[in-house]
Amino acid sequence: MEKNEKINVMKIIDPYIGKSKGVLTLGRFLAALSAIIALIPFYDIWKILKAALDGGERSEMSSLGWQAVIFTAVSMILYICALWCTHIAAMRVQANMRSSLMRRILTLPLGVFDQAGTGKLRRIFNGAASAAETYIAHNLPDKAAAAATPMGLLVLFVIFDWKLGLICLIPVILAFACMMRTKGKVIQQKMSEYQNALDVMSSEATEYVRGISVVKIFGQSVDSFHRFKRSIDDYSSWSVTYTKLMRPSMVGYLTFVNAIFAFIAAAAFVLIKGEITNDIILDFTYYIIVTPLLTVTLSKIAYSGEQEMTLIDALRRISGILEIEPLPDAENKAVPKDDSITLDNVKFRYKENSEMVLKGLSIDIRAGEHIALVGPSGGGKSTAAALISRFFDVTEGAIYVGGVNIKDIPQKELMKKISFVFQNSNLLKTSILENVRLARPDASEKEVMKALEAAQCMDIINKLPNGIHTVIGSKGTYLSGGEKQRITIARAILKNAPILILDEATAFADPDNEALVQAAMEELSKGKTLIMIAHRLSTVTNADRIYVLDDGVVAESGDHEELMQKKGIYAKMFDDYTRSAEWRIRR
């Protein structure tokens, strides 16, 4: 960890604590108190030893013994109370953290969810919340105890025989020196390389699982498996290197921390001069009994960093997401005049310093016009559509809807104006009725039925056990990709927004579905401004205007006839397409 990167954990947790702050402080105080009280029995032991050696009263010894037992019990009860307090605070923090993160998520640009993946977001947030919980519930009280113990110990050490006490501290210092080595620069660097190997492995794992359908269809281990295997091997070898690197320090630490006995033995020869009195025996016995406590305390301190590292890591992941600025909502609150769309020299890149995806895109779409975006994949079609719905803000240039810059249109207004149907349609795990109704929560069941009918969904509804009340995803009711898309089209029909963005699904498995989706889309786009991102050219021939996007700019535009006459990119694409289609039919 670099110094400047150091995160003050308490500062981050602070806003989430709220009223529980007092409880947390109390818990930490109780834990420290418990640690101090736990040391008192050791003083009793000294007194018992003294009494035994000096031939004191038996009753005195047993009363001292009971005193030790009582203090131990008190210390334990205090510790439990401390844990209760910190758990209350921890639960509060966890709950507050979750709800405030969820609220924050709602303000993020829509595009973030596509980019980061919803699963990952969920994992990061949940991970951070539970790491914070463990940290507050267990580490904070233990840290308080670990801080209090050495002070008490030092008193116990020095008041009886400071020379012996200091000699006992020598191995402790050596052990700490070993521990410090693990925090050195070289090891830190190795640690970060190890972390990288872990990250690479995770992303390769995702790739592998994603690619598995392909792997299965072709029935063989393909490249993705080898890459994944290599990343696993890399990770293993990094782990092994790292462990080997840590080995001398760890072994040294453990040996020194347990070597106090040798120093006591040596002290016996150095310190004892002349006759051995009872007092000397008393001191040595006492130190023999007390020094293991030092070992325990040390280990606690040595390992306490681990949990903190986990939490810091989790918090860093969160801040990576929270750093994404929410798109500023409109200040001017302008309302679009009509349903036209203008892209004015739009440039866009996903991340700073990365390559521009759109390099000066200018498109004019009149209200009610049907246009199609075509072109090779990676040409910027989907990005352009995402920018119109303001998933992200443009890097340069501007987008106007109805003559108004979309940055000046309140998010709600813009969403009323535009509806979109994507390639991968997401349905929530609830009834079809509710899924369609998301578009307009006040819609009646009848209206929903009408929308479903218009979207050619009746065959889906009819085959489901409870009709539109069937919960999707439950008890084996799964819909195919095309079926899902038709349901989302019904959603868009119900919303009835004047501007429509369709990201046409790529190849469907069955032609029936394709025809139905086609019909549903036609129904939907009647009398609306339509932007269609087309992957198959058969659907675009009717469009009023076709834009061919290549490498982030408009390469050609015009209607089907014009473009065919130009004999440019489009004509070539169309020829290729018809040939492949014919080939498919003949076969």
Partner: protein
């Protein structure tokens, strides 16, 4: 036994064998950690007999060095057995998991959230890794060493002292066993409080493990007290 371990902790043949080895290494290390007590016992004994002359210095020097070297070796072996072996094993586990996923029916991938699947695959592996390298050998190993040490103490020392040392072990195990079922059930407020108890007991158990070592040292007392009486009588005789 090996097969049972393999199933329970998702280990390969070698992994299971390694885990058993790691357990024994932990036990061995713990027993080696008792040797300093023997040295100190001898020291106190010599002091009480007033027999701690300079001529014994070489003997103590050799004893201490030997014990320290033995401890270092034991820790080295244990470190290798638990950490190196598990990290090698973890690679094997991940790859076999990947193979398994490849063989799942195709329909499975349409139904399951792939991100979840990946998370499960990687996250669980890391967890199993930590458990296999840190907790399981530590736990089983210390169980073995505690049994061995306590048995020798019951035999060679006063059984009442031994009992006083070791009553914490079964009690804490009982407490952990009692509460271990609770985590599986859905938590309500009472159970949550019970879990706090469990955590408290756990920490007590951790402390008791070291206090066992401490209290063993205290068993020197018994001898001590006897000797001190002798010493006193000797003193009074001199006077």
């Amino acid at each position: 036994m090996i097969e049972k371990l393999m199933r329970k902790y998702a280990l390969s043949d070698r992994g299971a064998a390694d885990m058993i080895k790691a357990c024994f290494c932990v036990a061995f290390t713990n027993i080696v950690l008792m040797l300093p007590v023997a040295v100190l016992y001898k020291l106190i004994k010599d002091m009480m007999d007033n027999a701690l002359s300079k001529s014994k210095l070489p003997m103590y020097l050799i004893m201490c060095l030997a014990v320290i070297i033995l401890m270092a070796v034991a820790h080295y072996i244990q470190y290798n057995a638990s950490f190196l072996a598990t990290y090698t094993e973890s690679g094997v586990r991940r790859i076999s998991l990947a193979e398994k996923i490849r063989k799942l029916p195709h329909s499975f991938f349409g139904k399951k959230d792939l991100t979840d699947l990946t998370t499960t695959m990687m996250g669980d592996c890391t967890q199993v890794e930590t458990a296999a390298s840190h907790w399981i050998p530590e736990m089983i190993g210390s169980l073995i060493s505690t049994v061995v040490i306590s048995a020798t103490m019951f035999i060679f020392f006063d059984w009442r002292m031994a009992l006083a040392c070791f009553w914490v072990v079964p009690v804490s195990f009982f407490a952990i066993w009692l509460s271990s079922g609770m985590e599986k059930k859905p938590p309500n407020i009472i159970r949550r409080q019970c879990l706090n108890w469990k955590k408290a007991f756990r920490s007590v158990w951790n402390q008791s493990r070291t206090s066992v070592l401490t209290i063993i040292r205290i068993s020197i007392w018994k001898v001590l007290i006897k000797r001190s009486k002798m010493l006193k009588s000797r003193h009074s005789m001199l006077r």
